[in-house]
């Protein structure tokens, strides 16, 4: 067992341990912090796989964006120090059973499927390579999904503002008039 393998198993332990704590912790704020550690561990796994760009995106979007958003919404919606109610014991037992059975089934499936690894070619995932292919208009380019996803982000942004906007007094009066 060399250094690289030891680092992989350490990262795997970090990811799985903090993910388990994130789904079982009864304090919601601690749960969010454990989720943060799990996502940092996944970014570390991407660094270990030498896909630095995806690792950077993972840190910027998940750790810097989504977790901060989740923590803000925890502060906005409830007392962060309060304990949540413990789920019912039969529910815990059956959920754990379902998860364990699923893991065992998939483990068995992966174990018996022989992957023929081809590691002859070097794996080039530099940022310039990704950028060239992302914006290329040839048949293997990703310009169309890139544009579609930008429209999706715009729609999500407008939708969030509309959903979370407080109804103003004028619009309430307008609605009441409609009902009359």
């Amino acid at each position: 067992m060399n250094t690289s393998a030891i680092i992989f198993y350490a990262i795997a332990t970090l990811i799985l341990g903090s993910a388990l704590l994130a789904v079982t912790s009864l304090k919601i704020f601690r749960s969010a912090i454990w989720l943060l550690f799990s996502l940092v561990g996944i970014a570390a796994l991407y660094f270990w796989m030498q896909v630095e760009f995806i690792a950077a995106i993972q840190i910027v979007v998940y750790v810097g964006g989504i977790v901060v958003l989740i923590i803000f919404s925890i502060f906005l919606t409830q007392q962060s120090g309060n304990k949540m109610a413990k789920p019912a014991t039969p529910k815990i037992i059956f959920s754990a059973l379902a998860a364990l059975l699923g893991t065992a089934f998939t483990y068995n499936l992966i174990n018996h499927y022989g992957f023929n690894t081809v590691s002859a070619q070097p794996f080039n995932s530099s940022v310039s390579e990704i950028g060239t292919q992302m914006l290329s208009t040839t048949s293997y380019g990703f310009i169309l999904p890139f544009e579609v996803v930008s429209m999706l982000l715009l729609a999500a942004m407008v939708g969030c503002i509309v959903i979370a906007m407080k109804p103003t007094a004028a619009s309430i009066v307008h609605l009441n008039k409609k009902e009359d």
Binding site: A22, L35, I42, Q58, I66, L152, I163
Partner: protein, 104 residues
């Protein structure tokens, strides 16, 4: 680097996916359910990157798929949190058991 076989990375992502599934089944709070969904999406991303690196090192399609999944996950989290805040405003609670108006 190549001492770790692909299957070990797949075992890791499988375990992560089913941890997320367990959280989705047991939690009743909307924000913690959203966290579980994030864990499941991340395990899928690990799979895409690992398959790309180990089986098709001459292409980059797996990386693009995980990039787009990350983008859509961010949009999904933002919309979900807007809905949660709106639900809290009308119900004073974000527990799924308290929002039963549309239950048949």
């Amino acid at each position: 680097m190549n001492e770790i076989p692909l299957t070990h990375i797949l075992f890791l992502s499988t375990a992560l996916f089913f941890i997320g599934m367990y959280g989705l089944f047991t939690r009743r709070n909307l924000i913690t359910m959203l966290m579980s969904i994030e864990l499941m999406l991340n395990s899928v991303n690990i799979n895409f990157v690992a398959f790309n690196k180990y089986l098709f090192p001459d292409k980059l399609d797996g990386l693009f798929f995980s990039l787009f999944i990350i983008t859509i996950a961010a949009a999904e989290a933002a919309v979900a949190i807007a809905i949660i805040i709106n639900l809290y405003r009308s119900h004073q609670s974000i527990d799924v058991d308290d929002a039963t108006e549309m239950k048949f």
